[in-house]
Amino acid sequence: MSKTQIPTGGIADDAISEEHLDATAITGHTALAEAPASTDEFLISDGGTLKRIDSSYIGGTNTPAFHVYLSGDQTIGTGAATKVTFDSEYYDTDSAFASNKFTVPSGEGGTYNFQAIIKTQSVNNNTALQVFLYKNNSELDSQQSRHKDYMSASSSEELHVSFSYTDVASATDYYELYVFHNNGNNRTLKAETSSFWGYKLIT
């Protein structure tokens, strides 16, 4: 590469443009080869003005996030919406899931997605299995599966309902999962395969 003579008195302000930079200005340096620390910086053009920005402002993480499940079967009586007592965690990034509910931590308001899959013994012909997402002790949304193909409920065959809901939450809002069926007698909510998870969206 040929050398360029630097004028006497130095380089004028704003004089280094793209044509004067070679890709080796980047490729010639040592690769970081790992995710940048939150205080590592990038150089960006902010409306035409060069600025530096911490990597913590770029991308972001889907947290708080949690994924909980039942460690043992739970019996659900007929005709009553029953809170699912999730007692085990796959993960809970902010320790925000406690006492069977997820509570939005202070400073973590925003848009959250909640999902669940509930698996039970099958229910009788034309009866329903329904899952409710409660927010602050009130029903927010529900999904149901209604059996019409089975002759009768079975302890060996299973029925499942999956659920997804996106909600704008404020700090201290709390979310719980309830299950309802009108089978006529108890149904068993299956351990491990019944789980509830949620995470904050990057917006």
């Binding site: 009586g77 009553a80 029953t82 009788n124 002759m151 009768s152 409920a153 079975s154």
Partner: protein
Amino acid sequence: MAVDNIYYKVKLYLEANSKTKSEFDSNIALQDDGSGSYIKTWSVSGVAKPTDSQLNALSSNATKEYNNSIIRQTRKASYGDIGEQLDEIYKDIDAWKARIKSIKDANPKE
């Protein structure tokens, strides 16, 4: 206060007051927050929300209804597919009747 087996107790209470279980569709909500079931909402026209003692007085019959629901479920499973039963009836209705009776006899209601 939480009331066990609440669905059948409320159903019996409704029937004793000339109402039907259709009230559950929109006028009654039962809930269990982990400490037992209770009546969360009640808006049955002309019938007051039952007290715990009124519901508990129906306990014996509620248990009977619950147990019979299991018997009905067991019977249905044993009866088998309706299409298969129609075939049984077409081929030998008396044999079908005998099989159904044996299922009922083996699973008597309370």
